[in-house]
Symmetry: C2
Subunit: 191 residues, 2 copies
């Protein structure tokens, strides 16, 4: 998606050779009209009529997932990182390591929110090492539901997540795949 690549180049802040901050339009501030354009791109790749539930994880995936949910009138569930006092006691849980927070986190979702007949599209803002998506896939398996695919805004192609998911036969659509981040610029894989 050329417009996304352009915004990453124009607005992204390179923090290191593996981190680019895109707070200004994706992670902390969202541009809703642009998010609808991203949702449209996912609709060109996935058959949204075949999706009964959009699944994401808190926090930065929720905005994009919500707008995709609204665009296609599909319910959305977000998995929490850690259990809060208000959650149901019947949970699907999966431990992962969060590279963002540099610590282990437990993905949690109330069992009754995912049904065995659900056909699930995972939506997230980033794929890097694939830990989060892998955790979501395990939860989908626990629920006996079906994974339709994974849509993400930005994939870090130099990290293992995207390849690892595709090697398992999972349909992964990333709107921009970054091949390299350096002081000389941000370089993308061609579509």
């Amino acid at each position: 998606m050329d417009k996304l690549k352009r915004r990453i180049i124009d607005e992204g802040q390179v923090l290191s050779d593996d981190v680019v901050r895109v707070d200004s339009f994706l992670n902390q501030r969202i541009d809703p009209d642009f998010m609808v354009e991203m949702a449209n791109e996912f609709g060109l790749h996935f058959n949204m009529n075949n999706v009964s539930l959009i699944l994401t994880v808190e926090s930065s995936g929720i905005a994009l997932a919500s707008i995709c949910a609204q665009r296609y009138s599909i319910p959305m569930v977000f998995v929490k990182k850690g259990k809060s006092s208000n959650m149901d006691s019947e949970l699907y849980q999966c431990d992962i390591f969060s590279y963002t927070y540099k610590k282990p986190v437990t993905l949690c979702v109330s069992k009754y929110l995912i049904a065995p007949h659900d056909r699930i599209l995972i939506i997230d803002d980033f794929i890097a090492n694939g830990e989060v998506v892998s955790g979501l896939c395990k939860i989908i398996n626990m629920a006996g539901a079906t994974l339709v695919g994974v849509g993400c805004a930005i994939e870090k192609g130099f990290q293992k997540g995207g390849k690892w998911l595709r090697d398992q036969g999972i349909d992964v659509k990333s709107l921009a795949i970054i091949e390299k981040i350096s002081s000389g610029g941000i370089f993308f894989k061609n579509d």
Copy 2:
């Protein structure tokens, strides 16, 4: 908003005399079409042409805020609870006590995401003691921006937050105000 009250009665799970869980349509699973209806209600109360930014806090406010943002083509910023490694070093911060997590949390947002000329509508899922909204108001003050009002889905009218905010002259629109939660049912303030 009668439809919201009806869903709280039909789908809410009373956990105690001050907590009702509404995971199935507001907090963890979202029904996007219903969220658009909630966004429409906010549009009847607030002049959305006078709003330049929607502000919320992670995580459960993000879905409703995103769909309001999309409904009115207004950018949205969500404030984080705690600093992650990817955040800018120039932050507005405010310490609050989270009743959900039973611990102090620090609200954080990168300074460059809120401008002094911004006219801000706060959107959140719940108002209870008003700690979160109060923290957001302090951040808006730090940024030199203007608060237009506060829109929330469910206000716990038996806790102090809503009254405290209105006593300060803040325009608070809650789509449903719960007066009492008991084993005999959930009782609402009349509109």
